[in-house]
């Protein structure tokens, strides 16, 4: 009898429990990144930059080096790292509060400069870690602890589409929006990460993968319903797919 492993825990992750809530997509996305790091043989030469947000402890979960950044500043920290260690594979992992709110200037400028690291952007339309306040990405009408009657465009504006906004910058080389709400999307998401890392190694500019993710706890939904809501509601405001692909456009 021979045994084939269809799937087992990735070597790219440490053998510890995560603190994430049941069914939170943070955990799923972690796995995909870890799998790509293993497949590309990058565990020894990669360094991740974790945010302030639910993923603040990512450095305890991944099996590669990590640096924890101040809230919103991961792109600056990654810039510091990549500039002095261009041979390393550098990626940030940031939530929507972290990247799109307090850290808006840092990501805009990293993208403008075409910093050669990869941003993994977890858009779950809420501040998870701090208990469910409105994020800049919160949908119109969506309830949060600071928009208890739902986000009102007149008061709070409309959701910010970071992938589209950042793609106006010439330094952005590759930008795709994905999710892990079903198996097809999950596979696409993994390919996007791999592509971003590969392009990073080719030094083409900034690479950016936005994940539509879930926060079952603060959305007040079951994990499965949360996944459905990503596809039914979030993806309408934040269309899935490639937003920008300069290397491809150049080839074409």
């Amino acid at each position: 009898m021979s045994t084939q492993v269809v799937y087992q825990r990735s070597r790219g992750l440490q053998d510890v429990e995560t603190h994430y809530c049941p069914g939170c997509h943070h955990g799923v996305i972690h796995k995909l990144i870890a799998e790509v790091l293993v497949e590309m043989d990058l565990l020894d030469s990669a360094v991740g930059v974790s945010p302030v947000g639910c993923a603040v402890l990512a450095g305890n979960y991944f099996n590669c080096d990590f640096v924890e950044a101040a809230h919103g500043r991961a792109p600056a920290v990654a810039t510091g790292i990549k500039r002095v260690k261009p041979e390393m594979l550098v990626f940030t992992y940031q939530g929507d509060g972290d990247l799109a709110s307090i850290g808006a200037a840092e990501i805009v400028h990293a993208a403008m400069r075409g910093e050669r690291f990869t941003t993994i952007f977890i858009n779950n339309a809420i501040y998870g870690m701090t208990g469910g306040q409105m994020a800049p990405t919160t949908l119109v009408g969506q309830k949060s602890t600071t928009t208890q009657a739902g986000r009102d465009p007149l008061q709070h504006g409309q959701p910010i589409r970071m992938a589209e906004m950042l793609s106006t910058l010439d330094g952005m080389a590759y930008c795709e929006r994905v999710c892990v709400a079903d198996m097809g999307n999950l596979h696409r998401a993994k390919r996007a990460i791999k592509k971003a890392f590969t392009l990073q190694q080719q030094g083409v500019g900034h690479t950016f993968v936005e994940f539509l993710s879930t926060c079952p706890t603060n959305w007040g939904m079951s994990p499965v319903d949360a996944g459905k809501w990503v596809l039914s509601d979030m993806a309408k405001v934040y269309p899935l797919g490639v937003v920008k692909d300069v290397p491809k456009e150049e080839k074409a």
């Binding site: 009898m1 021979s2 045994t3 084939q4 492993v5 269809v6 799937y7 087992q8 825990r9 990735s10 992750l13 429990e17 995560t18 994430y20 809530c21 049941p22 069914g23 939170c24 997509h25 943070h26 955990g27 799923v28 972690h30 796995k31 892990v180 079903d182 198996m183 999950l186 079952p216 079951s222 994990p223 499965v224 996944g227």
Partner: protein, 74 residues
Amino acid sequence: MKPEVIFNLDRCKGCGLCVSVCPKHILWLDETVTNIKGYHPSGISDQSKCIACGNCARICPDSVITVLKHQEEE
């Protein structure tokens, strides 16, 4: 081919994502059991129906599941 689905039950948070992606509908959350984390963990009802697609394992946020395929030596 004999698929095998193995659960690291203490790590399971009973989120049900695996259940939702199983094409054979053979996974379920066992409400009669509470693991040390206080969750009702996932379980498989009919291993024989499993096609070892790996969906459950791939989506599990907590890497609870290992999927194996045992091949009779020919």
